[in-house]
Symmetry: C2
Subunit: 342 residues, 2 copies
């Protein structure tokens, strides 16, 4: 049996190390071919662990927190759990990096420590979101780049289309995934300078099942499996979906609270329906955000992750490693020399 190794930043996140350890143990008990290298306070970690089976602890003395300036923290906090975990991946001692900590710092650790695949100019962040209706899909779509880069070039968007395709095929198991380009209109002549040119580049690659432009109003409708965006717009759209769901749910709560007895009775009867919406729209169950384009998977789960989210994200990482997503797209990109164009 091939043993996969995942480097875990045990100290990152609001509920660390407790939730991280609990999630790791859930995953360890289920995935017998995975070994975990936990970076963090050895005493605390040992006290929390039920069993040390397939678990290695690497003691570290520093923690990068949410208020740290990302690049500076990665450069200065040399003995932090996150940087040490990234170093282990760089040195080939682990196959992937996982953290619930500071997103910016994790992106920096991915780029500066783990390192990018040579032909990928700018790794992008891939997020997974739910769709309402997906007769041909799997109930989700990937948004890429959802925020790793503030400024993007057309060639980078073309690479995201490729990276997203390899992810959807090898992690989600989709055949010929439908790729769309986030744009300000569906017609091919719509767009800004970057999306107009990116549209042409993606359309020209016949290995990509390109369905054309998609508007943000249609994102949740399941029209495609992967949505390519520049990191600035992708980030804006991701956060606006999140903010709008939470706004509508709190409006609903408010309306119910002010609608008297009948409203409250109605709310009680509808509890299961509300719960199912909340769960459907809760992004954490769909795993972590993946930095794609680095030499090994770098995966970030929400800062507020609980043990279950940690477990799901480890499951996702395992599928990424087993599906050989990174080796596959690295090979394709090397053979097709996209770097020249950038």
């Amino acid at each position: 049996m091939i043993i996969l190794k995942i480097a875990i930043d045990a100290m990152g996140g609001d509920n660390a190390p407790d939730a991280v350890i609990a999630g790791v143990e859930l995953a360890r008990d289920e995935f017998k071919n995975v070994e975990f290298v936990l970076f963090g306070d050895e005493k605390k970690i040992t006290a929390l662990l039920k069993s040390k089976e397939r678990i290695i602890i690497e003691h570290t003395t520093e923690v990068i927190d949410m208020n740290d300036e990302p690049v500076r923290a990665v450069r200065r906090k040399k003995d932090s759990s996150m940087v040490k975990a990234a170093l282990a991946v760089k040195e080939g001692k682990a196959d992937a990096l996982f953290s619930c900590g500071n997103t910016g710092a994790l992106l920096a650790a991915g780029l500066l420590v783990v390192g990018r695949v040579k032909s990928v100019a700018r790794p992008g962040l891939l997020s997974t979101l739910p769709v309402l209706d997906s007769p041909t899909g799997d109930g989700t779509f990937n948004l890429l780049d959802s925020g790793a880069n503030a400024d993007s070039k057309p060639d980078q968007l073309y690479q995201y289309a490729l990276l997203g395709k390899y992810y959807a095929e090898n992690v989600r198991g989709l055949k010929n995934p439908r790729i769309g380009l986030l744009n300000n209109g569906t017609e091919p002549h719509k767009g800004n300078k970057v999306t107009l040119e990116a549209h042409q580049l993606i359309a020209a690659d016949k290995t990509i099942n390109f369905i054309g432009n998609i508007e943000s109003r249609d994102l949740l409708k399941g029209l495609c499996d992967v949505v390519v965006a520049d990191g600035f717009t992708g980030n804006a759209v991701l956060k606006s979906i999140e903010g709008t769901v939470s706004a509508v749910m709190s409006l609903l709560k408010e309306s119910i609270m002010s609608s008297g007895l009948s409203g409250k009775m109605g709310a009680m009867l509808l509890k299961p329906a509300f719960k199912s919406i909340k769960s459907k729209m809760d992004q954490s169950q769909y795993g972590g955000a993946v930095l794609l384009g680095t030499k090994a998977p770098v995966v970030k789960a929400h800062g507020a992750s609980d043990a279950k989210t940690v477990y799901y994200t480890i499951k996702q990482i395992r599928t990424m490693i087993e599906g050989e997503v990174v080796p596959k797209f690295t090979k394709y990109l090397a053979e097709n020399e996209t770097e020249e164009k950038i």
Copy 2:
């Protein structure tokens, strides 16, 4: 009494001319100082009108529809209701232009026929959206540019901050409105090339009550009265709010339909609460989208507008003219010569 004149494209929109005429008559009956110049099929209009009081009909033979390519339509359909209405504004025969028709064509008619204020490089589209909570505001915020331009420069964003300020002060009656910049992080050092520079420009103008960057996840929270964005991101965020509200509402409906008798009873009891949310999130009640930076107000209401929306939009236009929004910011811009920087 000063008589204001509004040029109306009576043939634009899904429900034209019926809904347009009905809305105009509602407004005519309430706003005694407004005169309406209706452009369109004279026969049809006359048949629908209850009274011709303060209504002038200008017969036109063409209509720009939703499938027309905007710039080409404005150039070729010289006798269309929209182009003739725009010409009337250009020639000083009316103070503002109103249409429920093709948005792209109306933007083109605004730029090419009505014309931009000399010092405004690129007029921007201002939309009005609801906020959940606004202890110091009026329950809405303006998003500007929400889609007139696909590519924006920092100076243009600075001008949108000014245009938005004048709009909020003179149309919404807010004192010292809070202006925010849509960005990928709240810290001043966050952003892409355009927003980083725009942040500095806006912050440097002490006449602007700049609250700094705002993330799209916080848009509906009422943190500011005007949100400045580049047109591409503004458009993406606007449409993603729209799409998410509609997705959550249809998820709710679906959950209720599949939750048996108790769910359906609950839904009945909650009908008033659902209705209040739908109405709160319905953008049409907040009036039309305004092209700001043209020599006279150019206002677009939703294609599906009914008489009530037409009425509300006319009310908004009347306040814009009476509040002298365009003359005021034109004067400020001329005195401060921002064009040099662009």
